[in-house]
């Protein structure tokens, strides 16, 4: 079966600066693909190139096994999108704005407008001018606009921007509901915890290059595990590990948080560590192996955590 969306060696340069660098990426039908990266990594530029808003300097976008070439509009009947903060005509109501874009799609179905407004919980505000909407309401209207023409694939760039925690939770539930309804979703976000709960696949971009891609579970399993040690003499244990680790677990790094010591990138023998600590007369109250979260993996791959 052909991929739904495929980027082949996609690149974008602005002058001497390479914003997106030979990006290869594949979205299959039914996936919720989380496209992650720090600010300035090239996420939004990539999305704009997918939609034909920005011209690539190299590479191609393929949709359903066909290259789009110079006709990106061919994708638009089957793709709904929201790129960054959505824009609307402020003098028109939410429903009127949707009507405008529905007409551009060659459709005229008031029932569909009502349905998508219901879906994003904007039915009561549908007749108010968009100029009076909050940022969160505009975000939700943007998602409604993306779904308006019943696309196969939704491309959402930071859809939870400006939403409060309740709004974020609504969007998360909405995404899961849309997945159940058969939508494929390509979503870029900074909110890794939110994304981790809904994504089936992940692509992480840094400095314009894709540094990791795959099913969420496989990506997380490929990440380095973390060991957490609890001790009433955490300071002593920390000093002990500072000399023990380089000899036994090259690459392992230490961080103390109160009575808990975290060892990142731990690939050594836990029993040997425990025995060594006991021989040094340092009590260890608990040892927990933790799989890296998406957030930790993101920090590892992009180096953002080290900067912050």
């Amino acid at each position: 079966m052909a991929s739904l969306l495929e980027l082949k060696q996609l690149s974008k340069k602005y002058g001497a600066a390479t914003v997106v660098d030979h990006l290869d990426l594949t979205v299959q039908p039914g996936q919720i693909y989380a496209f992650l990266g720090p600010n300035g990594a090239g996420k939004t530029t990539t999305i704009r190139m997918m939609l034909g808003l920005v011209h690539p300097t190299g590479g191609e976008v393929w949709f359903q096994g066909q290259p789009l070439g110079d006709h990106p509009e061919r994708i638009h009947s089957q793709v709904g999108s929201m790129v960054e903060t959505p824009g609307f005509y402020p003098m028109l109501s939410g429903a009127e704005n949707l009507h405008v874009f529905q007409r551009l799609h060659g459709d005229n179905d008031p029932a569909r407008i009502k349905a998508v407004l219901d879906l994003v919980d904007l039915s009561s505000a549908g007749k108010k001018p968009v100029g009076a909407y909050s940022l969160g309401m505009k975000q939700r209207l943007g998602i409604a606009l993306a779904m308006l023409h019943r696309p196969q694939l939704l491309i959402l760039d930071e859809p939870t921007n400006g939403l409060d925690p309740a709004g974020m939770s609504e969007v998360r539930n909405l995404l899961l509901r849309l997945k159940d309804e058969g939508f494929s979703i390509f979503i870029s976000s900074h909110l890794l915890h939110e994304v981790e709960q809904v994504a089936t696949n992940v692509g992480i971009i840094n400095n314009g290059k894709l540094v990791k891609e795959g099913p969420l579970g496989a990506v997380l399993n490929s990440s380095e595990a973390q060991l957490e040690l609890q001790s009433s003499q955490a300071d002593r244990l920390s000093k002990f590990l500072a000399s023990w680790l380089p000899q036994h677990v090259p690459g392992g790094t230490l961080r103390q948080d109160g009575n808990v010591i975290h060892i990142a990138s731990f690939s050594g023998d836990t029993e040997a560590l425990n025995r060594a600590a006991q021989q040094a007369d340092i009590p260890i109250g608990g040892i927990v192996h933790r799989q890296a979260s998406l957030e930790q993996l993101f920090f590892q791959l992009t180096g953002v955590g080290a900067q912050q």
Partner: protein, 252 residues
Amino acid sequence: MNTVRVISVEGYKAVRSRIWLASLLIGTMSPLLFALAYTLRRANLILNGNYTWAGFEQNSAFFFSVFLACAMVGGLAGLALTDESRFNTLKSVLTSGITRSEYLFGKLLFVALWVIAEVAVLVLTVFIVGAALGLNGGDMTTYWPALLTETVCLLALAPIFFMVAIRTNNFFAVAGMGVAFSFVTLLLNLFGTGRPYMGYFPGSTGTAYMLIYSNQWGKQYNDPLAWAITLAVYTVAAIIATWVAMQRRDVQ
């Protein structure tokens, strides 16, 4: 087909927007102004034999041409193109199955239709107000050709304003250019009334007045082909430049 959709959406927005509706009223301003002047100077005009349909219509068309029309087209073109950037809606429009060419020509055709509607409002207002004033008589032979010329000139200007709008993405630059064109047209009418090839004039709406002033359709303009070619070159060059800029643009 998609171009028609763009036109219909522009129409929908125009009807919902007070600014666009207000702009249509510009066509009524000139005849209403002269209705006031004719009412105040009625006795004097009758005495001199100038209380006529022809005089009223020519004055209204002249005032519209010189003072309002260029600025109006500049404003319309500016609104049509720069609003999409101002409201951040361009990316949504261009991801709704509309090509950039359809978007551009849809907008251009909509502005052209609006200009024609504006001239129609002018004519209609002239006839309603003229009838109310009880006007009669006068030579009308140059009136319709002048209006036709005026309309063609305005339509020819629209792509030039589009070109500026797409290059600068600034409403005030386009509207300001419209006002500047009006001013140039006024100067040309003050100082250049004998010149034959009005198509060369940047504010070519002065043509209408030239026709009225000369009252000899086809004689002052002894080379209408040169005039037509000049306007066509303006228009085609501006359309090509605008289209190229639109195609190459990265929408942020």
